[in-house]
Symmetry: none
């Protein structure tokens, strides 16, 4: 029994070390620089071992994305702790996402990779998993908006639509971060971000 458990723990550890290596490479060399061989080398494992833990490269990356989204959710949860005003809660979500995109670039890239790829690229099983994740992300905003409506902070209107709008806005704004050294050089990206989010919140507030 103890043996079985130890084995299980070792397996998990090995699995995790693969993911660690993958994330690191992803961050260092971008999506194309993170090859299976390099991940294996970095994780100090045989290449074939990777394939006994993950079906293929895409699968590995999907898990990475899920981890990323889990982490994101966690960070948002933590950030929301102790905050009760729905408006501030919404703003907090937005800034958590922005912060995540900067501090966890490697995770952000991979999430972004899956969001931005044309649908065609993924088979339906994979796509379903991605969407499931997306749904969970959406639901966070959904919940806050619902609370806001219930507590009388927000106008009573289609919650899901508002949540979608919210995410679309902050996702779009975050993408534009990379323009800050060129097009947006005469302004401050964070300020724009805040401005936009505030405006959105105001627009759904009573």
């Amino acid at each position: 029994m103890g043996l079985k458990e130890r084995r299980e723990r070792e397996k998990q550890a090995r699995r995790e070390s693969i993911l660690v290596a993958a994330r690191e490479l992803l961050h260092q060399k971008g999506i194309n620089g993170a090859s299976m061989n390099q991940i294996a080398k970095k994780a100090e494992l045989g290449v074939a071992t990777l394939y006994s833990y993950f079906t293929n490269k895409e699968d590995l990356f999907l898990v990475l994305q899920q981890e990323g989204l889990d982490l994101l959710r966690e960070q948002i949860s933590e950030a929301l702790e102790g905050i009760s005003d729905p408006k501030i809660r919404l703003k907090t979500i937005a800034f958590s996402f922005l912060e995540f995109s900067q501090k966890r670039k490697n995770y952000y890239y991979i999430i972004n990779y899956f969001i931005s790829s044309p649908e065609i690229l993924f088979e339906s099983t994979l796509k379903d998993q991605i969407d499931l994740q997306a749904e969970r992300a959406l639901s966070v905003a959904n919940a806050v908006i619902t609370e806001g409506i219930e507590t009388g902070s927000f106008i009573n209107q289609n919650t899901k639509r508002s949540a979608v709008t919210f995410w679309a806005l902050i996702f779009g704004l975050t993408q534009f971060k990379k323009l800050e050294t060129t097009i947006l050089r005469d302004d401050n990206h964070t300020a724009i971000f805040e401005h936009s989010v505030d405006q959105f919140i105001r627009s759904i507030s009573v």
Copy 2:
């Protein structure tokens, strides 16, 4: 004399056929599927021929994106003809973009690709060119909002920020189109889109 012209026309045609093939592949197989060899095969040309029309892959992709943005601008311009109300003009831009993303998928995808790629991927020269293009796109919304402020339709506030918010929103929303068969299956993407855009316009209106 006529001969020279004909040759010139043929060259342009061939150049265009390369771009068409590239766009198609990019849309169908993603960035990794759009290799120079594949493009050449699809265009029914030798690989080396591609290199006599474009310096390298990066150059080709840049031209691809520029053409896409030119077309987008053109379509927006046409759509705006005869419309004078700034609110409607703004909405028209939004829907032109949505329509473009659906009817000109190949063009849309390449634009999207450049927006969504992590900065690292491009050398500065290319990035600058891309940003230049993005700036021109931004300026369309900018102009409309300025008009709106001047004619008293819109609140007098930082125009550029509003334009950025506007684009971020519709860009994000358009990305979510691909969720319409899953997460958004209980609603209509176009309806959500319209709802969001309306809400944005209202939020900057007097």
Copy 3:
């Protein structure tokens, strides 16, 4: 245990077969004909396999040359066994080289290739390695001449210069072997070679 050893032996064998193929191609088709792809094909291996044995083409060629020089040194050593007269020893070296150039054409050609290439072709790392090898080759003649001086056979003069002269002469003469069917057709290359070497030895003898 025996398994590990066998594997190791197999790896060495495969490595060697790559070198054999490379040498053969280099000799048959010249440097431009000895591409990694061709070598792989000749060795009946996948291209990628070559890269798991050698870092890159340059590395492979370096090893190739080192092996060649090792073999040459070995042959010279063997030929020198039991011979004590410095004059004969020097002559033996010369003829060992000539013999090597004929019997081990593949090896000879690669050495020749590295000597004859314009400096520009190699990065400094490679060049340094080559020179290190060349130095070892030079030292063989150096030693013999030093002995000769000590034993009173040769005039006491700058040893290194004599060694360089010696190698320059026999290297140049060996290159001219290929002229034997045309320019030198009225004489015998080996005879010329011997004549020249004798004359050189005489010129440094007391």
Copy 4:
């Protein structure tokens, strides 16, 4: 008639401009960097034009080599002017060659290329031409040695063999020039060169 002549002159000029471009590129980028396309561009001519003046790349390079050898002969002739002592004449030839290898690197490389390539690479016609050139080069030394014998400066022995030895020596020594920054760093290449040549001359002197 004048027209015909002018055409002929133009043709020659164009031919020469190709060779000029080729030589320059050869010098700048080495033997592999001098591609037909680049030569054409540098000569401001169409690629196909090159092929109407030269059968193929090898042919062009052969002509280049011939030009090089002509130039070498010319330089040697000039250097020999006014010198009558056969010993000094021989030394002058040697130093002319060394100087040529340094001051006319581009020419020297290409001559070297043809000398050092394995025989196999060239078809017999080409090889014959190369050898013809080599023979002419050889004959210069031949003549001087013959004079020396006649005037009592040199020992009466097989002239041709001496000439071959002479060329082999200076060719070998010149090749070793590239070792001067490494193996020969504690001596001076020119000094070694002179030492060796002097020794050779002494060895054939009465």
